[in-house]
Amino acid sequence: MSAAGHHFHRVASISEIPEGDALHVKLEQWEIAVFNVGGEFYAIDDVCTHAFASLSEGFVEGDVIECPLHGGRFEIKTGKAVAAPCTDDVRTYPVRREDDSVLVGIPAAD
């Protein structure tokens, strides 16, 4: 995903999101889940596209997050819905690392 047109916000230090774990952050109106997959950080919508559930409270297996409520799954790197009952993808957000900080980009307001 292109980082153009995004404002980046520091959301955590690297050590605050251990590998295989997730952090829920709210940046302006965006509810975002930030994941550490094998030392790389990724950000997607926190709210499942099937029902109201927080993906950051879900179960990470490899690069897939399983929703804590109903078991729908999304690819953390692409936001793609990969298991029933989810059919709609979640949005992805660009992530940057600066020193020991994790930054997430949200669409810049016009």
């Binding site: 109903h70 078991g71 029933a84």
Partner: protein, 411 residues
């Protein structure tokens, strides 16, 4: 109609819908005919006793697929239609309107229907059952603050209806014939936790109590309880279980017993007829016995696997750890496994804080769990059970141990 060699699905609920979608996704390019007695596209039922019942979500929100996606599946959907008979020798299904349609393979996803109360006055208007969108909207119209609802049955449906009615500020009396709530599914102390949850929200719970009869002129006005009390009510909701819709199968000579008997690929006793969802009596490897599940997850996942099996594309038999959830007030309850005859129970987390997990062990093996507001831990337990990793109960109890680390360590 239907072109050559159609695959026919009877039942347009969760199982029927996912089966149709899976057949197409797996490359089936012949006709798919979906027969269902309801007017709706395939939908999921859990919200009918939750968000739809309190008016927080429209009924369309339950549809399994967005309209465009469902359109793309390209199903010939015979809605408002009932199958009257199956003729296995001729590979045909006869419809209630007299039409007869051929099948190459047939899937029975006929689900179940609410068990009916058999007491005097039980057919009065104002007494509701809950299974369909129509049922949910009818009951929703009765939930108002000036009324009093009598809920019959302290199982999942009864408890969710009670919670919905309290959300609408309605008086609620709930009668349960046995000595605890959710007796089939929960050990005593967890049932007690649920009982406190509902009492704290103002539900008048009567255990060891049932309805003896209803009375009313034009509609239900009062009920006589078996404890001798007479209660005035504005409506009643009955949730006393589901009976499998297996008559169509048994009348056409398929093996049935507490549902349609299938193997772990959903095959019935006829090689061209399959079944999936609430109606199936199927083997479960982890439980080590045959089971019939009334759950959203089984309806979805068994249907997906059986649809693949109908195409000869199933990679492995259906062998999932049963999983179920309920939402009541702000509490999410999840069950994994079918723990029976467990010999050790360990808790993780603090029940007083409203978020905890209870794990059941049998012969040293993790056999199931119940999580209250702890979805992630339930998923991890399920994964631990699925992979067969040995688990030390004391590690479960220790809040400093992350369950995902137990899973990693076992690999």
């Amino acid at each position: 109609m239907a072109g050559r060699n159609p695959f026919v699905i009877i039942g347009s609920g969760q199982a029927g819908g996912w089966a149709a979608q899976t057949l197409r996704q797996e490359g089936h390019d012949q006709a798919i005919v979906l027969i269902g007695d309801e007017p709706h596209p395939p939908y999921e039922r859990p919200p009918l006793s939750k968000s739809v019942l309190v008016g927080a979500a429209p009924p369309e929100s339950t549809h399994l697929f967005p309209a465009a996606a469902w359109e793309k599946v390209g199903v010939e959907h015979l809605s408002g239609t009932t199958a009257a008979a199956i003729e296995p020798q001729d590979h045909r299904v006869r419809l209630s309107d007299g039409r007869s349609i051929p099948y190459q393979r047939l899937l029975l996803a006929t689900g179940g229907r609410p068990r009916k109360l058999a007491v005097p006055g039980a057919d009065l208007p104002g007494i509701y059952y809950l299974r369909t969108i129509g049922d949910s909207l009818s009951l929703a119209a009765e939930l108002r603050s000036s009324g009093r609802l009598l809920v019959i049955g302290g199982g999942w449906i009864g408890l969710e209806v009670a919670a919905a009615a309290r959300k609408r500020d309605m008086d609620v009396i709930l009668v349960e014939a046995t000595s605890q709530l959710c007796g089939r599914a929960l050990a005593g102390d967890l049932a007690g936790h649920l009982e406190r949850l509902h009492r704290d929200h103002g539900v008048d719970i009567r255990l060891n109590c049932a309805v003896a009869r209803f009375e009313g002129k034009l509609r239900v006005e009062r009920a006589w309880l078996t404890d001798g009390e007479r209660v005035d009510v504005s409506a009643a909701a009955v949730g006393i279980g589901i009976a499998p819709n297996s008559e169509l199968a048994s009348q056409s000579g398929l093996a049935t017993e507490n549902g349609i008997i299938v193997d772990d690929y959903g095959r019935t006793s006829d090689p061209n007829i399959f079944a999936a969802g609430d109606v199936t009596n199927h083997p479960n490897a982890l439980a080590g016995r045959r089971i019939r599940l009334e759950s959203w997850e089984n309806a979805q996942n068994q249907a997906i696997l059986v649809a693949k099996a109908m195409l000869g594309k199933a990679q492995a038999p259906y062998a999932e750890v049963p999983w179920f959830w309920s939402d009541q007030y702000d509490t999410n309850i999840q069950l994994v496994g079918l723990p029976s005859a467990w010999d050790r129970m360990v808790a993780r987390g603090d029940p007083a804080a409203g978020s905890f997990l209870v794990c059941y062990f049998k012969g040293g093996w993790l056999d199931g769990a119940v999580g209250i507001n702890s979805g992630r831990d339930v998923k991890l337990v399920r994964r631990l059970m699925q992979t067969g990793i040995p688990v030390d109960p004391d590690r479960i109890r220790d809040p400093s141990v992350r369950l995902q680390d137990l899973l990693k360590a076992g690999r």
